[in-house]
Amino acid sequence: DTAVSQTPKYLVTQMGNDKSIKCEQNLGHDTMYWYKQDSKKFLKIMFSYNNKELIINETVPNRFSPKSPDKAHLNLHINSLELGDSAVYFCASSQEGVAFFGQGTRLTVV
């Protein structure tokens, strides 16, 4: 069974659209994250949730809204997509500081 799974794996959409990426972990971890990896492979944290509560919000535009319905799920909704949002988005969960990553969602805004 996949430990951290996110869907979809690929997402191609037009500017101005709204899209969501879903993430689920079956590891029983309390902490989940969203990271953004740009074309130069820089990996930057966006959000962190601990037991459904927002812990970190790293100056991400408010077009990005995470939602955690329970501690096993952390979804990312993006409004009014822009070209600069194109990137690979990774969900992760952690236990004792070690992160487990999903396979990534490659978002392409055209």
Partner: protein, 112 residues
């Protein structure tokens, strides 16, 4: 920027050779971790070294940490073509946030 720096940015070696990657960071840390990313995949945790440790081994991996210089190195011995990937260091300052700050990564290519 809090992001750490890694060097080299890219490294190409022959199978059987050793590969060394370096990581420098800017703040005090609780621990430092190394992750591997194969092309098109998520990151996979390799090894964690705590701030009070100087060296750690795991299989063909050897990690060192020098907190006075705010630097770490990852050595992969007897490299294999399957080691081809990007390698990232990540620092954890501890505390309640469990926030990992990733370095810029080293792309390692091991030629068969």
């Amino acid at each position: 920027s809090q992001q750490g720096e890694e060097d080299p940015q890219a490294l190409s070696i022959q199978e059987g050779e050793n590969a060394t990657m370096n990581c420098s960071y800017k703040t005090s840390i609780n621990n430092l971790q190394w992750y591997r990313q194969n092309s098109g995949r998520g990151l996979v945790h390799l090894i964690l070294i705590r701030s009070n440790e100087r060296e750690k081994h795991s299989g063909r991996l050897r990690v060192t940490l020098d907190t006075s210089k705010k630097s770490s190195s990852l050595l992969i011995t007897a490299s294999r073509a399957a080691d081809t990937a990007s390698y990232f260091c990540a620092t954890d300052r501890g505390g309640a946030t469990n926030k990992l700050i990733f370095g810029t990564g080293t792309l390692l290519a091991v030629q068969p």
